[in-house]
Amino acid sequence: MPPLAQRNLFHDKVRLAVTLTGIVFSVVLIVVQLGLFLGFTTATSNLIDHSGADLWITSKNVPYVEQGVAFSERKLNQVRAVPGIGDAQKLIARWTQWKRHDGGQDSVQIVGINVDSPMERPWNLVQGSVEDLKSPDAVILDELYKQKLGVTSVGEVFEIGGHRARVVGFTRGIRSFTTSPYVFTTFKNAQNYAGLREDQTMFILVKLAPGANLDQVRGDLLANVRDVEVFKTSEFSRMTTFYWMFTTGAGVAVLIAAVLGLVVGFVVVAQTIYATTVDHIREYGTLKAMGAPNGYVYKVIMKQAAIAAIIGYGLGMIVSVFVVHGSQKGGAAILMPPSMAVGMFFLTLLMCVGAALVSINKVTRIDPAMVFKG
């Protein structure tokens, strides 16, 4: 077949630029909106998803991780006595106040961990090590929040909840969904920073012994440890995400924006492809008059749309990668996992081919006599 589809697309450079701009705009818009949604969703449950625990034990009626309520750490022993427990560690996650050098204060979420446990350790460290937390008053925070908290380098000393805190390291990309950055420290320090008594914890993280049955252990914990809730990590993660994304309304706004991104993206692509097809409507009429079956004409149109989709997707992804990369240094992360990039390819193809189908409807209804009009 003579390269009609390719030529229709590439012959008019201005039209090509308009077509590709429309598709690239749509790809970037959708990637940004979906990526923001994904970024927000991930941020809400970051702490839980990276805990490495199988089960989370909380006090009663805790709807999400930030709403933890302190309870007696003596329950830790009861937990450890349940069969199937490989490891159980106390955890504190609570909002408190960070005092900057200029006297101003910011809310932070203190995360108190057992440094010797593999559970809930800070990840993606770019400076310092988790072991450094063993030094007095040591804290690790994310480099994203340096400016917000007035931190310039390791070794600086601040106040958290009225107690001394010394920065010993930085992580990269550990975002909080709220405006309060996570600050990792030892469990003992966290008790002081969060104003808890020495015998209190807020969560107990459980790692099962090899071969233990998750549901069985969970049931045993509920039966043997009073006044607590026991959640699977994935379950607690979903609860927390659901709370932030839907109960607060914050996520609904992001979700609506993502859906609007999809709709606007599709409309832009549809309009662009439609206009590109209609530009050549007389030629398709001629093709039909010459005796081309509808399938032949559709093939040309679909091929044209598919080529536009592939090029538009490629260019759109280049722009998107820059946007996503740039967002990593900002407050709102735009995530684009490989699955999303692959999905975006098929979505772009679907949008272009779908739009072509709409324009095919127009081609189907070409007035045959149009070919006889000068």
Binding site: P2, P3, N8, E283, T286, K288, M290, A369, F372, K373
Partner: protein, 248 residues
């Protein structure tokens, strides 16, 4: 001689307005192989509608249309393109070349529709362009061709399908008199030397001398069916020689 196209009691009604518009009112017409037939008449008389129905592009409201002996009325939307492809070549007033394809590719497109392989189509397109005197324009885009050259490419394209019938709508309207004459000579050769049935809708009185027969249509009906005497030859036709370009 059997008709290439035979139209009987053809009626075409457009569903426009409260009562609709009757574009053709019981037309009977035959176009024969080797014949150059001109359809003439005022604007809105139904010439193009008749040509569209003869070309299986438009369906008749009632009546009979036989193309190459096959009844067309009642054929499905899928069957009609196949019939056009096999038997009919079109030449349009506006040339209707594909502007993004070269002259050669425009011809190859027709061959591709006929299922000819790419290599053979390329060779055949060269031959056809050579026959219309445009072999050197194989790689030129329509925008780089003159009106006459475009129409000759369109003729080459129409011939690519090797049809028995050539239907042309005002093929000289967009051309100057000299170029128009050349195009008409070519069309005449198609009829007389290659045995095609050539049907041309035209307003151009300069081309009447090329006709074997002129059919005048008025208000959707045939007002006259004669062999050249209805319309007097135009001054150009009287002074210019007959077909000079050979199409083999």
């Amino acid at each position: 001689m059997p008709s290439a196209i035979a139209v009987r009691q053809l009626i075409k009604k457009y569903d426009e307005g409260a009562s609709g518009t009757l574009a053709l009112r019981g037309v009977d017409l035959d176009a024969h192989p080797g014949e150059m037939l001109l359809l003439m008449g005022p604007s809105g008389s139904g010439k193009t509608t008749l040509l569209s129905i003869m070309g299986c592009i438009l369906t008749a409201t009632s009546g009979s249309v036989r193309v190459a002996g096959r009844e067309v009325v009642g054929l499905s939307e899928k069957q009609l393109p196949a019939l056009r492809l096999e038997h009919i070549g079109f030449v349009f007033q506006g040339f209707n070349l594909f502007p993004t394809l070269t002259a050669g590719e425009n011809v190859e497109l027709m061959l591709d529709l006929k299922g000819v392989s790419a290599a053979k189509a390329k060779k055949r397109a060269h031959e056809l362009l050579e026959q219309v005197g445009l072999s050197e324009k194989y790689g030129s885009f329509p925008s780089d061709l003159s009106g006459g050259q475009k129409q000759r490419v369109a003729i080459a394209r129409a011939l690519a399908g090797d049809p028995g019938i050539i239907l042309a709508d005002e093929p000289t309207a967009a051309l100057d008199s000299h170029t128009g004459r050349n195009v008409m000579e070519m069309m005449t050769d198609l009829a007389h030397k290659r045995g095609r049935a050539v049907v041309i809708v035209t307003h151009d009185s300069r081309v009447v001398d090329f006709a074997d027969r002129i059919v005048r249509i008025e208000d959707g009906a045939i007002a006259g069916n004669n062999e050249g005497e209805l319309v007097p030859p135009g001054p150009l036709a009287q002074t210019l020689p007959q077909a000079t370009m050979g199409l083999v």
